[in-house]
Amino acid sequence: MITLTHIPFVITIVLYLISSIWSIGCIVHPFVFNKKVAKWSMMMGFFIHSGFLVFLGLESSNIPITNVYESFVSLIWCILFVYINLDYLYKLPSLDTFLIPVVTALSIWALTFDGGDLFMNVSLPNFWLIAHIIPIFVGYAAFTISFSLSIMYLTQQRQLKHKLFGPLFNKLPSLEGIDRLMWKTISFGFPLLTLGLVFGMFWVKTQNILGEQWYLDYKVVLGLATWLIYAALLHMRLVSSFHGTKIACLTIAGFCLVLFTFIGTFFMGSKHAFQKMSEQTHEEILNIQ
């Protein structure tokens, strides 16, 4: 159920959707779909998105990750934040065509988590939370961008291989250029992921928040697997200087694992420091008694 307070996010999604349609449309019909519309609707969406997060934060007096829905919304914000900065630095041509639809799809998915039952244990200390969450989120954002770049790479390589020289072929940059950017985003995200995981490890060790058998938590196990897959990617690039389609496919696999780690684990029954609202209330009642 969409509550009234989430209207801004719905507006954000609509703006992202417009941006997606225009960013794809401007490739096929550049005279009908203006690229500026795509850019400005995205920026406007991002602006409202930011405002919405501030509102959520003020409401709960915490960083807006107090439930699955909020953390999803924050992650999407991180993706766009990183993208806008990278685009400003590196001028990524046509990446929006590949990234904004992903962002839009994730946003719509996020909306389905609104009103979910899992809430964060509010007594969690703030320092560790920020040190654990922020690097991981920014890292995930970088991986999402590298995922979009991989799709772009595979599209361009397919077009070159099968000699399909349509309007998209002309708009996309060179394989080598995409490959370099992919490498840059992964090598930007990986240290952050590592940092976030290390802080998380310290956190569970010192505060014992995940219980004795913390290493059996799905999120911990899969987080490690994600770390390993990107470590393997970096190794292939750095040590064996590997390029091409294999790297692109592996990057896509890496992103799927990121998504699964982030969201899929909740379907598997992992709570990872979140608690069911009902349990929490039950505990509170017990405490009062």
């Binding site: 070159l160 996309l172 060179s174 390029h243 091409g244 389609t245």
Partner: protein
Amino acid sequence: MSILVVGLNHKSAPVEVREKLAFNANNMSAALSQFLHRYQTAETVILSTCNRVEMYVSSLEGTLTVEDILSFFADFHKIALNDFSPYMYHYKDDRAVNHLFFVTASLDSMVLGESQILSQVKEAYTTATMEESTGKVMNQLFQQALNVAKIVHTQTSIGKRKVSISSVAVEFAEKIFQDFTGKMVLVVGAGEMCELLLKHLYEEGARTIVVANRTFERAQEIANAFQGQAIKYELLGEYLAKADIIISSTSAPHYVIHADQVKEAIRHRRGNPMFLMDIAVPRDIEPEVAKIDNVYLYNIDDLQSVVSQNVDERTREVEKCRTIVDEEVEHFMARLEEMKIEPAITLLRNHFHAIGKEELDRLKPKLKNIANGDWEQVVYTVERTINKLLHNPAKVAKQEAKNGGGYRYVEIIKKLFGIFHHTDPSQQ
């Protein structure tokens, strides 16, 4: 005032005729000054490229004919009129303007949409201005032509797609590699096409060039032209893995590069992409190569089919360009009409101010004691009255001129106020 173009191009005349009429950098100035010497009131620009020779002339109505210009060509180049006049075309006024706009926008070129003609027109115009053979009309005309060409090129995709095999090939290479610095280009065989491709790649920044050919001397010849390195043909296999771009055009009747060789090469390259162009017939590179991951193989047909697609694309754009050109011709002709009436309006103004001055001169002695300041006020009032009286007629006349009635208005103004051109004393 009329505009005339007389000339020939690749469609109307064979090269034997075109070369006889062509002007070059050495005799262009002489031609322009000779023409001006002969027809002093005319303005002219001569456009001479390898595909066309055209002379654009503007003169007072009826003073210059096509025959005059033809005979100028004959006299200047010292050839008989009959030798070239059957190949010549000529257009007048709006059709002449249309022709120039069409030519400048590269819609009349041999390769539709090529951009070279734009700079050639610019150069022809600059030369003419330096020789002072242009005036108000030619300046307006050529500046507008260059402007129209820019509009056509930005608003349509007439010049966007590449239409030569070598430029298409380089475009593909650019979709694989970000830049060519540090990339090795391996040339196998030494055909003319190879050289052309190499030239394009070299212009785009490729500097590591290796040439392998059956006859080592020929390989050396090409390598030297591009500061490259010639290798013995037998060493080809060794260089395969190092090469990013391979161009093959040997005359061998069998495959020269085999799939397992390329497979081995790509393994060594750890997935670094390879771009192979097989421009030989019969083919040099085994077609199976195309199936190998990270290898991109194109043969002459692939390149040719893209070229013809792009040519079709350009041809489809011509209609759009024609509409733009037609619109711009209309604008220009309206401006020209407006320009025609300007001298008449100046005459009218001078005439009125002369009358005003005459009357003021008559008045001044009568007002002996008038203060200087007061007299200035009187002069100011008279001039202001004249300007106010003339403001609307001038505006309306210009407006009407735009719609093509300029000439009629000039006549009416002259008749109504009894004013005549100072070069036309017979009517006074």
